[in-house]
Structure formats: structure tokens, C-alpha cells
């Protein structure tokens, strides 16, 4: 049963990533692109979690945790740069 659920989950997340990629290329504003990148990071974290379940290994979660932190810092850095023209004032 979990195998089928994982198949559905991988398919849904792949479709979600394709949609995010469409928004990333389409724009129209720079804020849309930041939002699309942030959503892509969240979806990739979901992918890693599902891959951890599929491989029955808990070692992938460090990667997921690292990606969560780096994604947050990256988004805030983009936004901060656009708001103030500088990242660390």
C-alpha cells in the first residue's frame, strides 16, 4: 500500500515542480520568481522525505534539513537584496 502511495506522491510532487518551473520562467515580476524558487525548495524537501521512505533509510533527512535552512537563507537574502540593495548592512 505504501508503494502505491509513494508512486502517487512522487507523481504529484513532480507535477508540482513542473508548475513551479513554469512560474519561474513566466514571471512576471521578480517577486514571483523568488516565490517560485522558494516553493521549489519546499517541494524538493518533500521529494527527499519520500525518497527516504522509499529507500527505508533515515540518512536522507540531514539533506532535507540542510535544504530547508539553505532555502530559507537564500530567499531572505534575495528579498533583502531587492529591498535594501545590500544583504548584510
Amino acid at each position: 500500500m505504501i508503494t502505491y502511495a509513494l508512486g502517487v506522491g512522487f507523481a504529484a510532487l513532480g507535477l508540482a515542480l513542473a508548475m513551479n518551473l513554469w512560474r519561474l520562467f513566466k514571471g512576471p515580476g521578480v517577486a514571483d520568481r523568488i516565490l517560485a524558487l522558494d516553493t521549489m525548495v519546499i517541494n524538493v524537501i518533500g521529494f527527499i522525505v519520500l525518497a527516504g521512505i522509499a529507500n527505508r533509510s533515515a540518512t536522507a533527512f540531514e539533506a532535507a534539513l540542510l535544504l530547508a535552512m539553505v532555502g530559507f537563507v537564500g530567499t531572505v537574502a534575495y528579498a533583502k537584496f531587492l529591498l535594501r540593495g545590500d544583504i548584510i548592512e
Binding site: Y4, L35, V49, L83
Partner: protein, 144 residues
Amino acid sequence: MSGVGTWAEALVSGLIVTGAAFALIGSWGLVRLPSLMERLHGPTKATTLGLGAMLVGSVGYFQFVQGQWTTHELLISLFLFVTAPITANMIAKVHLLRLRLGEVSEPIGPAGLPPPPPTTTMPATDWATHEAPQHGTPGDLAGD
């Protein structure tokens, strides 16, 4: 497979499918909705909730099926639930700033147009996004 195992597998499968569906709905909202302030709702709420459901499903899988207690998922979900509002706030601030500068044009949302930029005769009426910190406030590093 014992009764507990079947029950746990059904629970984990349901959580995985629910989480993936919410992530898909959030991304669909990101594509479908007309303006950025509305598009912000999809990823910040639906996708974060979907990822939370998937992480709880992962905890359940390793606990009930593998018999191994993991706390990494709880750490990830805690971190995501703390940071999602902050990133949404920052992106909304970027959008407001660019609307004010006239660099983007969008359909007017239900809340109407954002307030105009402050002038010498009329000070800013809303939250500040791009002005320098006022003198004496905590962000005023030059005054120290």
C-alpha cells in the same frame, strides 16, 4: 502482516497522499491565481501543510513499520513552520516596494491599490519597507 502493521501502513499511505495532494494544490495555486499577493497564499499555506503531513507520515513509517524512532522530521517541520511566514513576509515586502516604484503592474486585488510613496508634505501612512530607519528606533545603527 499483523493488524497493527496494516493499520499503520494505511495511516502512513493516507498521510503521504494527503501531503502530496496539498503540495500539488499549492503549486497549482501558484500557477493559477492572478496577482502575487494571492499567489503567495498557495505555497505558504497549502504546500507547507502538505510537507508537514508528509513529514508526519515519515515519522509514522519509521516508528510503526521499521520500529525505529526518528526526530529529524519533527526538526524539519518545526523549522519550516517557523520560516514560512518570514519568507512570505519578505516576498510581500519586495512586491510592495516594486509596486511603489512602478516596476510591476498587476490587476487590482480586493484590498485596492497600495498607498502611494511618502512625500515631503504627506508622510508614510503604512508599514515601512524601504525607507531608512527613523532616528532613535532599534534599526538606527548610524545614530549609535
